[in-house]
Symmetry: C2
Subunit: 255 residues, 2 copies
């Protein structure tokens, strides 16, 4: 049977339609300060044309804003479960989204054993890359093209606000924007490596969330951790996948 | 004899000409990414017309950028000494500048016994008020006029970056800008109270640095600490005063 999982993040809303272990449909849109409407769109898109409405599980910060879901679950449990489907042997999951980051530890059975969460400081989240990219007149989507093979220029400030000023003064000192951007990604990757190490660096390590699409970031994170960093084309949907899996279990139990 | 103390901060450059315990001249200008030139201007202004050049002591983050000073001293020792001249009975000093904040503990003789420093996170510094004021189309200088007698609207985010987004969404939800600004000041005052409490809340407490000029902030800080918060018209010059005092000692010892 079909189930739907929707992950209402503060930056993007992600949803999937799942059948067994197969993702049948994907939905992704910017949340843009209208989380409830974004969840509604995701739901209509994912259930469209199905004979009966699939079991709907919501997760993410906006999950309590609508009342038509069958179930609501916290992000951490969904992410652990979703990661397991994407990479069954994963033991550590680092998820870096637009406005938070988390690291999750899984045991050999894939059960969640511990986690760390940051949603207080923009510096460890996608927002950092966003702000700095905009300051340099580009977008996160172009970071890989711009920084490929570029030697990173060192960045001193870790605070997003102070880094923004530093980047402006590096630019006026004539440092090339691509070297600054590579330096910014490198500084954030180093910080993320420390964040992961606070919990666990046991491999295999799966990298999920929006920032996982940045190949330069992933390469630098692997260098700082001195270990392989796996990702998956559907890495941004890990939370939604986990939510849909929880729906499957629930259905089996009751149905 | 005259001595000069110059405090080269990352936001403003402050300088004074001292004779005995009397501040004879004051100099203040925005550092604006040209710390060396700002120190030069301060020096020329403060020594102008004096028969012989006064002993010059530099402090602050830019103190090593020029080579014409007689002495260079770290900010913490200067701030402690300067605070003592402004309020001899002070036992705790909280200094909130444009890009850092520090709390200093003094013993009964006014000697520095301990301190805490933050220059890593913009949220605890004047930069926070700056960013949010600009977001709401005003300037830090007008915060007192705007927020006088205004009930603060609660603010959830402590990170400067997340607070900026929160403020924008509060505005579009129709919350009055003055209530938002009062809420922003209140949130930062609460944070500063926690910062102070990590070291010492023994009174009398002297509040120095640029942010000390914000009366609303001082009132809210006093409320969170549940104790009186003193300031001084020359509170922004505490570091420079301390530097000039160190120059006096040096001269006495050697001359
Ligand atoms: S102001 Fe800077 S260091 Fe502080 S919480 Fe925000 S991003 Fe992090």
């Amino acid at each position: 049977a079909f189930t739907v999982g929707i992950d209402s993040g503060s930056t993007t809303t992600k949803g999937i339609l799942l059948e067994g272990n197969t993702i049948v449909r994907r939905f992704l849109c910017p949340t843009s300060f209208r989380p409830a409407a974004s969840i509604g769109e995701a739901w209509e898109t994912l259930r469209a044309g199905l004979a009966e409405p699939p079991f709907l599980t919501l997760t993410g910060y906006g999950r309590q804003l609508v009342d038509f879901a069958d179930k609501q679950v916290t992000e951490i449990s969904c992410h652990g479960l979703g990661a397991r489907l994407l990479l069954p042997e994963a033991r550590t999951v680092i998820d870096i989204g637009g406005q938070d980051s988390k690291v999750i530890q899984l045991d050999e059975q894939g059960n969640l054993t511990d986690f760390l969460m940051n949603d207080k400081c923009a510096a460890g989240t996608g927002r950092f890359l966003d702000v700095i990219s905009r300051t340099l007149g580009t977008q996160v989507e172009h970071l890989d093209d711009i920084t490929e093979g570029v030697e990173p220029h060192p960045l001193t400030s870790m605070c997003t606000v102070f880094a923004e000023s530093e980047v402006i003064s590096l630019r006026s000192a004539g440092i090339a924007p691509e070297a600054i951007l590579a330096g910014v990604i490198n500084a954030m990757a180093r910080r993320s490596a420390h964040f992961i190490a606070r919990l666990s660096t046991q491999g295999p390590l799966l990298f999920t969330g929006g920032v996982s699409h940045c190949t330069t970031f992933r390469r630098m994170l692997a260098a700082h951790l001195n270990s392989e960093v796996f990702t998956h084309d559907d890495a941004q949907y890990a939370g939604a996948v986990g939510a849909a899996l929880i729906g499957q279990r629930q259905r089996k139990r009751h149905g």
